[in-house]
């Protein structure tokens, strides 16, 4: 599969994603500089990695969504291409309105880094077919602004449409509404999540519950020829 990992100034999980994908699938993901205006041809999956894009001195992701490359990321998503935003990447996706809602400062007003349990709400998607529905997996979080928020009526709609991808199941670390840890867009081809699957893709560094995600994506791409 062809993966483009977007590098914003201040991204710091970009190389981790490349490493995880290589470890899980053997494929070489490509780093794409934020100043580019076009994704590499043949891109199947775009990953917006974790970090502090442009320092996040404004609002997390607020600057990044205006980066030149983002227009093409949106076009890619509109064509049905896969986009995965992890942590800061999730924040970029909500800022750019590719996903609904916002990520607010954690309930306890502190950065939290630790493995958490999340449940897989759906396994009929490109990103999650490698898991069982309802399966509880352990993946680390590392964020200060990860409390998912959405107005109540929109939240009901989100739930009704089955757009919740993951929920915190072993205690809610940040106060996210409905324990939401990750959501899909309506088409199911864009996923934003606060936990870092790339950090638990290799048992040598703590765990590998994130690994099936990369395999799910690869299988999906091979099957659909997307």
């Amino acid at each position: 599969m062809n993966v483009a990992v977007v590098v914003f100034p201040g991204s710091n999980c970009d190389r981790d994603v490349v490493k995880a994908i290589k470890h899980a699938t053997g494929d070489e993901a490509e780093l794409v500089w934020h100043g580019e205006t076009e994704l590499p041809g043949e891109t199947d999956l775009v990953v917006l990695p974790g970090g502090f894009s442009y320092g996040d001195y404004l609002r997390c992701g607020a600057m990044a969504h205006t980066a030149p490359i983002m227009a093409d990321v949106k076009r890619h998503a509109d064509r049905g291409g896969l986009v995965l935003g992890i942590c800061n990447g999730f924040q970029v996706l909500t800022e750019s309105k590719m996903l609904p809602g916002a990520l607010l400062v954690n309930r306890d007003l502190a950065f939290i880094c630790r493995p958490v349990e999340i449940s897989v709400e759906r396994n009929d998607t490109a990103f999650t077919s490698g898991y069982e529905k309802g399966q509880v997996i352990t993946v680390p979080i590392a964020h200060y602004e990860g409390r998912y928020h959405l107005p109540e009526d929109e939240l009901d709609l989100l739930e009704k449409r089955g757009q919740v991808a993951f929920r915190y199941s072993g205690g809610n670390p940040n106060g996210a509404l409905n324990d939401i840890a990750g959501i899909f867009n309506e088409g199911g081809n864009v996923l934003g999540m606060m936990p870092h699957p790339e950090r638990y893709s290799d048992r040598a560094v703590g765990g590998d519950d994130g690994l099936p995600m990369w395999l799910s994506i690869k299988r999906w791409i091979e099957r659909t020829g997307a």
């Binding site: 100034p9 490493k19 974790g50 502090f52 320092g55 950065f111 939290i112 560094v205």
Partner: protein, 715 residues
């Protein structure tokens, strides 16, 4: 201007005049005041630092560069160093701690290394006081705020509470980075005819004269506080990537970070170390503020700046890399033949001195030294005066829940300990371990400090600090390759305090020599005291070693059902100076155990073999709180209990809570028993029980559930 206003002593002023053959002008005087401050010149400690062993099997670069480097195998070097940022953190906890992290990261970058791991040593006052809580919260948020954003994992550290740190907290930042040995960058390789560039943030009025500030006692009224540096981790992240790109494109001759005393120290040090002359034009420095005077430009400690020495024909390529990372970059001077260091401003030469004088020639100060009169009083603990515990369960739970031993997760969970996805053992264990990308090898690190032991017995207490650090590495399977130290002490001008510093350095030097653990880098922080008194003597070390592959790394907290438990080490620990005695009596007293190099080395060799041959499933060095805390932590982390029975040759409380000397607890699976016993044959080793169930019991004294332990320990 009066020389004393510039911070110089009469002798230093005279020496300066003699070296120049004339009166220095005001700017030169200000420059020398900072460059000959304790922080920049080590004038009080140079003779002590010479005691440390500097060479070892794996040492590639010892002291003298921005950080030491040890051989990490496969053509890679591991650069590491620890540095203090104490006074700035006292005044501005968040920014002080943040810029401390930023500064040590730049020290590592200056060698051309990619920073891969950080640790922090934090020393705060009484944790029950609101003032301490607010300060500690600011410091922790500062360490995290910077390290998290810049993308360097904080993988471990040490936190100590004692009232002596009340007005003068210590914030020691450690960083390690990896560099291909053939691409290592040096601060000593400049030659004449090259360009001097400044890369990174603009120079502002922040942090002016911070080095001088670090070299005096803190005043209660806050006077003498310089403007504080403001950290911008985003800029540092860009600076890291830009410097690595410059390194990989072979565009650098020499590099130095701008820490204390900014442009002045970085440029004059390169000139002095490389044996060349330099002219810097202050009109070319990108400034953040208008109307800055030459001395302000010279001494500004604005963060996130690096000084580069570049061949003239490569300047354009350097500018292009800087442009890509959106960093300011300017040619501010050139290197020349000779020994002069010249500053131009508005077309005039405003300072012109020998570079060697600025960079290295500070006269040393032989402070008078006097053994404290009351040292024996501190040792007068009489074991017979201490009753045995009535309720052992309570004692253990109290100790676990005390501020000495409580889990530090409330601190370390605020740090990103996993970014870069190489963290094999993160915070909360006796050692931290980071995978070296591209190889099977793992770098193992430990940070250690024992201010209580050092106060009671600076020589042996300080040797114990080094030994504890080496033991922790050895239990994990790593042979110490080198160490970095931060000597946090009060004013050397008081004879009893200087004696303590001297003894401490001697004790560390002996331990480092006999354990074959050279000191490859370090930092001295003196004048840590306020009107309320001095801090405890607090030498801190960060020791690094390697294991060849993950199977040879022995972690703690890994008990398995039916494992047999072994106590390794002489049954002669002492309550003296330990946390149990302190917790129980509210006093720090007693005479810590003397350092025994032979016993330590025997332990280290066997411990490394135990890990390497996988003779145990879990290993925990016995440190603070003694065997009781080691067992409780093993049980709590493993989620398993054990039934233990110990023959007591000494008082039971001494063996259970005593500290000092090489000691560890191992859990050994049945099929490794023969091997384990063989490895420890000839050393003091006792089988003490078996892992299993969910209760930790010890003879008829202790009976605790694992959940009680976890709860008390705050796991």
């Amino acid at each position: 201007m009066d020389y004393s206003k510039a911070g110089l002593r009469k002798e230093e002023y005279d020496a300066l005049k003699a070296r120049l053959g004339r009166e220095p002008n005001d700017l030169e005087l200000q420059i020398m005041g900072v460059m000959w401050s304790e922080h920049c010149s080590y004038k009080s400690t140079k003779p002590l630092l010479r005691l440390f062993p500097k060479d070892g099997d794996r040492v590639l670069l010892g002291p003298g560069e921005n950080a030491g480097v040890v051989d990490a195998g496969d053509g890679l070097g591991l650069a590491f160093k620890v540095e203090s940022h104490n006074h700035p953190s006292a005044v501005a906890p968040y920014q002080g701690a943040a810029t401390g992290v930023g500064g040590i990261i730049r020290d590592i970058m200056a060698l051309g290394a990619r920073p891969v791991a950080s640790m922090d040593g934090l020393f705060f006052g009484d944790p029950e006081e609101r003032k301490t809580q607010a300060l500690a919260d600011g410091v922790v948020k500062g360490v995290g705020g910077y390290g998290n954003c810049v993308g360097v994992p904080t993988v471990g550290g040490k936190t100590v509470y004692h009232e002596s740190y009340r007005g003068n907290p210590l914030v020691n930042a450690f960083c390690a980075g990896l560099v291909p040995t053939d691409r290592m960058v040096s601060s000593q390789t400049a030659s004449s005819g090259q360009k001097v560039l400044i890369l990174g943030s603009k120079t502002g009025r922040d942090g002016i004269a911070g080095a001088a500030f670090a070299s005096v006692e803190l005043a209660e009224d806050g006077s003498g506080v310089p403007s504080i540096q403001i950290g911008d981790p985003f800029a540092e992240k860009l600076l890291i990537e830009a410097c690595l790109e410059l390194r990989d494109k072979d565009l650098l001759v020499s590099m130095q970070d701008m820490g204390a005393a900014g442009i002045l120290s970085s440029s004059s040090e390169i000139a002095a170390k490389s044996g060349i002359a330099m002219t810097i034009d202050f009109d070319a420095v990108p400034l953040r503020a208008e109307g800055m005077e030459p001395w302000e430009i010279a001494l500004s400690e604005s963060q996130e700046r690096m000084l580069l020495i570049v061949e003239p024909e490569k300047v354009d390529q350097v500018m292009a890399v800087a442009g890509k990372w959106e960093l300011d970059c300017a040619v501010i001077g050139e290197t020349e033949k000779g020994d002069h260091y010249r500053i131009l401003w508005k077309g005039d030469t405003v300072a012109d001195m020998p570079a060697s004088v600025i960079g290295s020639d500070c006269p040393e100060i032989p402070w008078p030294s006097k053994r404290p009169k009351n040292l024996e009083d501190r040792w007068n603990f009489d074991l017979d005066s201490l009753p045995l515990p009535e309720n052992w369960n309570e004692e253990i739970l109290n100790l676990l829940g005390s501020h000495s031993h409580r889990s530090r997760k409330e601190i370390f969970e605020q740090y990103d300990s996993m970014v870069q996805t190489n963290t094999v053992i993160g915070p909360g264990s006796p050692v931290s371990a980071v995978r070296i990308e591209g190889s099977d090898r793992i770098a193992v690190m430990s940070m250690e400090a024992q201010p209580f032991m050092c106060w009671l017995d600076p020589y042996n207490g300080s040797a114990e600090v080094v030994a504890r650090s080496c033991r922790a590495l050895a239990v994990a399977g790593a042979k110490p390759a080198g160490t970095t130290d931060c000597l946090n002490f009060p004013s050397p001008e008081k004879p009893e305090q200087f004696w303590t510093l001297e003894q401490s350095a001697k004790g560390m030097a002996e331990a480092c020599s006999s354990l074959n653990c050279p000191v490859v880098s370090g930092n001295v922080s003196l004048y840590n005291e306020t009107a309320n008194g001095p801090i405890l003597p607090t030498p801190l070390v960060g020791t690094v070693g390697f294991v060849e592959n993950p199977e040879e790394l022995l972690s703690s907290g890994n008990w398995r059902e039916r494992d047999r438990l072994f106590y390794v080490g002489m049954p002669n620990p002492r309550l003296d100076g330990g946390s149990y005695l302190q917790n129980k009596t509210g006093r720090i007293w007693g005479k810590p155990l003397d350092f025994d190099g032979e016993l330590e080395n025997e332990f280290i060799l066997r411990a490394i073999e135990t890990a390497k041959r996988r003779a145990a499933s879990s290993g925990m060095p016995i440190a603070g709180g003694g065997l009781a805390v080691a067992l409780a932590k093993e049980a709590g982390t493993s989620g398993l209990g054990a039934s233990i029975s110990i023959p007591f040759p000494t008082r039971r409380d001494v063996l259970i809570f005593g500290e000092g000397g090489p000691r560890a607890v191992y859990s050994v699976p049945k099929n490794r028993l023969v091997l384990f016993r063989a490895l420890w044959k000839g050393y003091a080793v006792t089988e003490i029980g078996q892992v299993g169930g969910n209760r930790l019991t010890l003879d008829d004294l202790v009976d605790l559930s694992v959940s009680e332990i976890r709860e008390s320990w705050n796991l």
